[in-house]
């Protein structure tokens, strides 16, 4: 294995080790596309489930134990075991991998959203109630914006986890950038290393993107008060 060969694999197509098919170079584009699609769909479904649920739990102030337990259990379940469990019991395919990745993506978002809502100043919520806001309005216009940076922080953790785990999706029959890594016999060691470099690159880009989003999500009023107090965040 060497980095030169891996870089060459990323930029130039070559014949597979078994012969017959082309691998690497532009042949990697569909794999990258699948990887991003799988990540996007899984995270979107997980956001749609976890954020409203945790927002509501946080609003009514219940489920603290649930939020912490789900985070702890989520960390303890190895992603490979989760994927394998789905393969063995439900079979292979895009839907099954997506389902497994959704389960993986939910815990960080659930915990972060819950904590984000609970950290909103109770006086602010009381003031919102005092000016006649309904529960739904308080959640949408007070708690959600104030919890936004933490929520996005949770999404960020999930996205990076899912990008990493989507690498083993080929084991469940959906071909992603993990294919060259898992099927080293076809792609050769340059392919393994090249795909590893690409997966790492995508994860770093996603992390950087969400770090920017997280910063942008801080409500303007809060940003000003932080500057005034010397930014203690």
């Amino acid at each position: 294995m060497n980095f030169g060969g891996a870089i060459d694999f990323i930029f130039h197509a070559r014949e597979s080790r078994a012969g017959g098919t082309e691998v690497g170079g532009s042949q990697l584009l569909p794999l990258i596309g699948h990887h991003l699609l799988l990540t996007g769909v899984s995270v979107a479904i997980a956001v749609a489930i976890a954020v409203p649920f945790a927002l509501w739990l946080g609003h009514i102030g219940k489920g603290e134990f649930l939020a912490t337990s789900i985070a702890n259990v989520g960390r303890a379940v190895p992603s490979l075991a989760l994927i394998a469990f789905f393969v063995a019991y439900l079979g292979v395919g895009f839907e099954n991998v997506t389902l497994a990745l959704v389960l993986l993506a939910i815990p960080p978002m659930l915990t972060n959203t819950y904590v984000g809502v609970r950290q909103v100043d109770r006086d602010t919520v009381d003031a919102a109630r005092g000016i006649g806001m309904s529960a739904l309005q308080i959640m949408r216009r007070v708690e959600l914006p104030l919890a936004a940076p933490l929520i996005i922080g949770g999404v960020r953790t999930s996205v990076v986890n899912v990008i990493a785990t989507a690498t083993i999706a080929p084991l469940a029959g959906y071909v992603t950038l993990g294919d060259p890594i898992i099927a080293g016999g076809v792609y050769g060691s340059d392919g393994q290393l090249g795909a590893a470099i690409l997966v790492a690159f995508i994860a770093i880009c996603a992390e950087a993107l969400f770090a920017l989003l997280q910063r942008a999500a801080v409500p303007r009023g809060i940003r000003i008060s932080h500057q005034l107090s010397g930014g203690t965040s």
């Binding site: 490979l80 922080g153 083993i168 080293g184 290393l193």
Partner: protein
């Protein structure tokens, strides 16, 4: 050189032939077969101990490094930002990618896996140790100084004991995370329970056995660390339950936000 070539793919049909009629039927139907698990449990023992070895060494090595870095950054605060930045990048890199990225440098084997797994624990451990130290009330430190404690005495006899709950919380998170990531260590040629899962990923009995062993290992580490925390921080038990729960929630939040 390929990963697949170095893995032994278990032959299920051979196992089934030697078993009793009922058992081979269960295995052939890909059911969940307790008798098969009992008969073939030995094959999981060696990967299990490899898994324990990888996890323990990685967490201990990670703790020593993070502890040193935290003590350094505790005295020179400007170091906190850069250290969080660098360990944060290490934490972001997908472990499966790192298991391959290291191979041109360190080759295949346990060393490569250990470097990657150790690198993962650094962010969690460093952040928890430094937060623990920062959370020690200034009054307590002043009181210790007033009693004539030197800097070193303040650190070892006041600050570190009071930071213990956060430090152990970090160790618990690092341990469970490492047990999970070590399931991918077989990609680096370091074995572990992940290799068993991978060897026959469609066979329910195999997947459940190896998966449950991983889970039990994670729980075992967690329980041991929790017990250590209880022994070392008797004063925590005096806190009202509500404050302890708040503390737990806060701690989990620390773990999730990068």
């Amino acid at each position: 050189m390929s990963t697949l070539a170095q893995l032994v793919i278990h032959d299920r049909s051979g196992d089934a032939g030697g078993g009793a009629g009922g058992e081979s039927g269960c295995v052939a139907d890909n059911g969940f077969c307790p008798s098969w698990i009992v008969d073939h449990f030995d094959r999981y023992l060696h990967p299990f101990w490899q898994h324990v070895y990888l996890s323990v060494i990685a967490v201990v090595a990670g703790f020593l490094i993070a502890f040193g870095l935290a003590l350094l950054a505790h005295r020179r605060h400007w170091l906190v930002g850069p250290i969080i930045g660098i360990t944060g990048v290490l934490y972001t890199l997908p472990s499966i990618a790192v298991f391959f990225l290291l191979q041109p440098i360190t080759g295949r084997g346990a060393l490569t896996a250990l470097i990657a797994l150790t690198a993962y624990t650094l962010l969690i451990l460093f952040r928890n140790i430094i937060t623990g130290l920062a959370n020690v009330p200034v009054d307590v430190i002043d009181a210790a100084r007033g009693l004539g404690f030197t800097d070193r005495q303040v650190l070892w006899r006041v600050e570190l004991p009071l930071a213990l709950p956060e430090i152990i919380a970090g160790l618990r998170i690092a341990a469970t995370t490492t047990v999970g990531l070590a399931t991918l260590a077989f990609f680096a040629g370091a074995g572990g329970l992940g290799g068993e899962i991978f060897a026959d990923i469609t066979f329910k009995s195999n997947v459940v056995t190896a998966g449950v062993l991983c889970l039990l290992l994670a729980i075992a580490f967690d329980v041991v660390l929790l017990a250590i925390q209880r022994l070392l921080t008797p004063w925590m038990r005096a806190l009202p339950i509500e404050r302890r729960r708040r503390f737990m929630l806060w701690r989990t939040n620390e773990a999730v936000t990068a």
